[in-house]
Structure formats: structure tokens, C-alpha cells
């Protein structure tokens, strides 16, 4: 899923401090799972903003709450069509994708980010999310024991490990597993150490963000 983290409330206040009517807009998908932008967080952020405005003596400022099933889909974003233009600003606490799609659809209304969108990752345990994929567009996991060196090695090495790997940890941080240690452990477990011996030639990054904004087009499912 897409993992996001809450933005400091001071930063959000800076965006909306001159608004009179604000909509805090959450998303029921990934950001709910990572507890950054679901219904619960919409309630907390809206209450915080109300408290701020009331402390400023701005009792007339209205802060409304709404959480959509998804903000990355036309269908659900349409649900606020009738009310959107009442607002001076929308604070979206969906991931960056949802924030942008909301801004795109409601072109004349300012839409502000309420979260920092971080990465594609997993819930390792409650309150701990870690990165797994950088959406490079050309997956190589078949050769690396199902562990991604693009996302998980600090130097994106394809023929690793580098000389800084020590006791299974990465050179940049003793808390961080060395991706190549994990890869080697897994290759051993599946009895495919032969894969390590193969020289991994230069990667084509044109399917990564280096190739510019990407698209996936599927004629078979288009209507």
C-alpha cells in the first residue's frame, strides 16, 4: 500500500489560516491502514483546526469533515461535486495521488496536502511501516529472491552487497537490515545461490520515473 505520515498541524494551519470554510477530506484506503488519513484522523485534524480558529477568536470559521472510499477514483470523488465549491480550501489527507486527483477535479478550489506521502510499503507491526517497492516499472524480484534492491538497498546495488555491510546491517544505519544480506539469506533458503553468481547487467530505467510520467493502458478492460 501507499504509506503516508501526518504533516505537523502547524504546517496545515499555515495553508488554511485565511480560509473561512474548510473541508477536511480523508480516504478510506491505504492512509486509513497506516493511520494517517482515514476517518479517525479527519476527526482529529478537524477538531484541532476548530480549536485553533476559536483560540484566534475566529468563531465564524467552519471546518467540515468527509471521508471518501477513495480519492484516486472518479466515481468516489464525484460524491463531493455538489458541495465542493462551498469551500475556500480542502485539506486532503489522502496520499499524494488522492490530493492531486482532488485538485484536478475541483480545479478552482485550493487543495492542500495534510500528509507527507512516503513510499510503497507494508505494515510490519502496528505503528511500523517499511518500504518495499519504488515502482520502477520493470520488476526484477525473480532474480533477487523476492527482495527488492532498488527499494531496500541504500545504494540500489544490483550485484551487492557493498563493502559496508556489517553483521547483516546496512552501512547507513545499524537498525536497518542490509538488503543484500536478506537477499542472500533468501537465495540460500530457496537453494538458488546460483542467481547471485550471475552478473546483473545495467538496468533500463526508462520504465522508472526517469522516463517521465508513466501510464498503464489496458485496451482489454477499456470501455
Amino acid at each position: 500500500m501507499i504509506v503516508a505520515d501526518k504533516k505537523p498541524v502547524e504546517e496545515i494551519i499555515e495553508y488554511v489560516k485565511d480560509c473561512k470554510k474548510i473541508l477536511v477530506l480523508g480516504c478510506n484506503e491505504c492512509v486509513t491502514v497506516c493511520e494517517a488519513g482515514g476517518k479517525k484522523e479527519v476527526g482529529v485534524l478537524a477538531a484541532t483546526l476548530r480549536m485553533y480558529f476559536s483560540n484566534q477568536g475566529a468563531e465564524d470559521v467552519q471546518v467540515d469533515e468527509r471521508t471518501l472510499e477513495r480519492q484516486c477514483d472518479h466515481e468516489y470523488l464525484e460524491e463531493i461535486r455538489d458541495i465542493a465549491d462551498q469551500y475556500d480550501g480542502i485539506v486532503s489527507i489522502a496520499c499524494g495521488v488522492g490530493i492531486q486527483f482532488t485538485a484536478e477535479k475541483y480545479h478552482s478550489i485550493p487543495v492542500y496536502p495534510g500528509v507527507n506521502t512516503c513510499f510503497l510499503g507494508v505494515t510490519e507491526q502496528r505503528g511500523l511501516w517499511t518500504e518495499r517497492c519504488q515502482a520502477c516499472g520493470q520488476c526484477i524480484l525473480a532474480y533477487t529472491g523476492g527482495i527488492c534492491p532498488v527499494a531496500r538497498c541504500a545504494k540500489r546495488l544490483f550485484n551487492g552487497p557493498c563493502g559496508g555491510s556489517s553483521q547483516g546491517k546496512c552501512e547507513i544505519n545499524k537498525e536497518l537490515d542490509c538488503a543484500w544480506q536478506l537477499i542472500i539469506d533468501r537465495l540460500k533458503a530457496i537453494d538458488r545461490m546460483d542467481l547471485y553468481e550471475k552478473f546483473f547487467n545495467i538496468k533500463d530505467w526508462s520504465t522508472d520515473r526517469a522516463g517521465g510520467p508513466r501510464k498503464v493502458e489496458r485496451e482489454d478492460v477499456q470501455i
Binding site: G164, S166, Q181
Partner: protein, 310 residues
């Protein structure tokens, strides 16, 4: 092995002599005198001088520019290139730039992570990894083509090297990784600083069993300690460094005033022991900001005078 490039370092080792290299870290400023001064200290006691590329991710004068200074002084530089800061376009371009000055050696590295340096917020590139860079230089040299396939007019004639750390984890991958580097094109290897001699000897024995020491010159890396503090720092703080307790103790048990001397003694003893080891083709003396001691180390280790090449 016979020499394939105009590299003096390659010729020395191909002739069966132990090669000697040291390094020159470019200054954190643009004063060429700093480079020239270091080079003067090293010039008679080594075959070639490595020029580090923004080592520990701290901004310095570029490796390429510094190599050109050395070359213009009549010395033999080894251009170090890390893949951290430049993509494949910039790397190939710098290789051509170096070749235009007839710089005949290159060392391909991934580089320390930028979080260790003075720009920890920076982007890192890593378009290629160090092995892919090795492969790139070999392709440019041997096939005379760019990565894109176009022909290179006057391809670079470079002796191509890489680093190896026999002490990093996991140990079992260390020899296969060396084999991969050689397969990717490494003709010489400079190792991480050696303090754990038993482990190094085991590594080279395993490399020999696989026939790797026949295919590639292995230069053993050494660094003299200046103080007991430095030994402790290297043991505890430098990733991938293996400093055994007895070495740290030997430094700590030496009175402060003689620690520098003891550091040199350890370094000389290391070289003397490894000189006898089959599979070791030379030494890479990394005397970090202590270049003035290199002539003494080389002399005392019995590696002087340096052999003449044509």
C-alpha cells in the same frame, strides 16, 4: 598476465613485481598546491596514485581534475569513480575526459552513502552499480563503443580496477563477489584496510582455489594508525572495517608519544607478512592525510626502489 594498456601499474605487476599504490585525497578547496605537495611526497615510492572521488561523501576538488594535475606533473594517477553522484552519461563523459589526458587507470566504486558527508540531504544517483561501471569501462575500451552502441573515436585505454572488502558481511559471499567483479571486467583489486590477517589470508586462499588470483592482480590495502584513538574509531565506527582486539590493545598499550611510530610498525609488519603470501600482487597504502609517512613505510617494508618500466 601480460599488460594490455599503457598503465605503468599494470606493467609493473605484469612483470612480476609487487605493485605499490597510495592515495591522494583532493583538497576541500581549489588550491592546486595542496595536490602538488602531496604528489611530491609520494612520487618516488609508488607506481601510481589513487585520487579519491569525494570520499566519505564530502565535497572536494574533483577526482578528474586532480588526476590531470598529477598527470601534468608526470605522475601516474588512478581515477577513482563512484556511481553515487553521476549517471551513465556523466560517467562515460568523465572517462573520455580522463582518456583525453591519457590517464591510464580507473577504479570503479559505488561510494559511501551521502548520509556520511556534508550534504546528507542530497539525492544519490546510482544509475549504475560499481560492477556495472566496471563493465562499462571494459566495453568502452575493448569494444570501442559507448553503452548506447555508438563507436568511440580513440577509445579509452585504461587498466580497470575495483575495490573488495574481505571483511564485510556476509563472508561466504566475499569470494563469489570477487569472481563477479572479475567477470564484470576488473583487472586489479585494491582491498579494504587489512588488520585481521588470518581472515584476509583465508579470503585470498579461497580466491586462489577458484583461480581468481590468476585472473586479476590483488593489491592488499593497508592504513597506518596514527593513534590508539584512531584504531578504536576504525574498529567501532567505520562500516565494514575489521580491527581485531589485540591490534587495538597493542596501540592502546603504547605510550601516547610513540603510538604513531607503533602504527607504522604494525603497517610495515603487515606488508612484510603479506608479501610472502601467494596471490598478493601489490600493496595499496592508504595513509589518510599522512602522506609524508608513505616513503618510510615503503622503504621499511623492502619495496624500494620502485622498478623501472619502459
Amino acid at each position: 598476465m601480460s599488460a594490455k594498456t599503457p598503465s605503468k601499474l599494470e606493467k609493473v605487476m605484469a612483470a612480476g613485481h609487487l605493485g605499490v599504490t597510495s592515495e591522494c585525497g583532493p583538497p576541500r578547496g581549489s588550491d592546486p598546491e595542496v595536490i602538488k605537495h602531496k604528489a611530491e611526497l609520494l612520487k618516488d615510492c609508488v607506481d601510481a596514485i589513487n585520487v579519491t572521488d569525494n570520499q566519505t561523501s564530502v565535497v572536494r576538488t574533483s577526482s578528474l581534475a586532480t588526476c590531470i594535475h598529477l598527470k601534468l606533473m608526470g605522475l601516474e594517477p588512478i581515477l577513482q569513480m563512484v556511481t553515487r553522484d553521476r549517471n551513465r552519461i556523466a560517467l562515460q563523459s568523465d572517462i573520455l575526459g580522463a582518456a583525453s589526458f591519457d590517464i591510464a587507470n580507473v577504479l570503479c566504486l559505488s561510494g559511501d552513502h551521502q548520509s556520511f558527508g556534508d550534504n546528507p540531504q542530497g539525492q544519490n544517483v546510482h544509475d549504475l552499480d560499481s560492477m556495472q561501471l566496471l563493465w562499462t569501462v571494459r566495453k568502452m575500451r575493448d569494444e570501442g563503443t559507448f553503452l548506447g552502441g555508438d563507436e568511440i573515436k580513440r577509445p579509452p585505454k585504461m587498466f580497470v580496477g575495483a575495490a573488495a572488502n574481505p571483511f564485510a558481511d556476509p563472508f561466504e559471499i566475499r569470494v563469489p563477489r570477487l569472481a563477479k567483479k572479475i567477470e564484470a571486467g576488473a583487472e586489479f583489486i585494491q582491498t579494504q584496510c587489512i588488520y585481521n590477517l588470518e581472515k584476509f589470508e583465508e579470503w585470498i586462499r579461497l580466491a586462489e582455489d577458484r583461480g581468481l588470483t590468476e585472473k586479476c592482480y590483488i593489491m592488499a590495502g593497508v592504513t597506518p594508525f596514527k593513534s590508539a584513538g584512531m584504531a578504536k574509531y576504525m574498529k567501532n565506527r567505520v562500516p565494514g572495517m575489521d580491527v581485531p582486539d589485540d591490534v587495538v590493545k597493542r596501540m592502546a598499550d603504547t605510550p601516547k608519544g610513540s603510538q604513531a611510530e607503533e602504527g607504522i610498525n604494525i603497517c610495515v609488519e603487515t606488508i612484510q607478512r603479506l608479501k610472502e603470501l601467494k596471490g598478493v600482487s601489490g600493496f595499496h597504502i592508504m595513509a589518510i592525510e599522512w602522506e609524508e609517512k608513505v616513503p618510510e613505510i615503503v622503504e621499511r617494508a623492502g619495496l624500494m626502489p620502485r622498478p623501472e618500466t619502459d
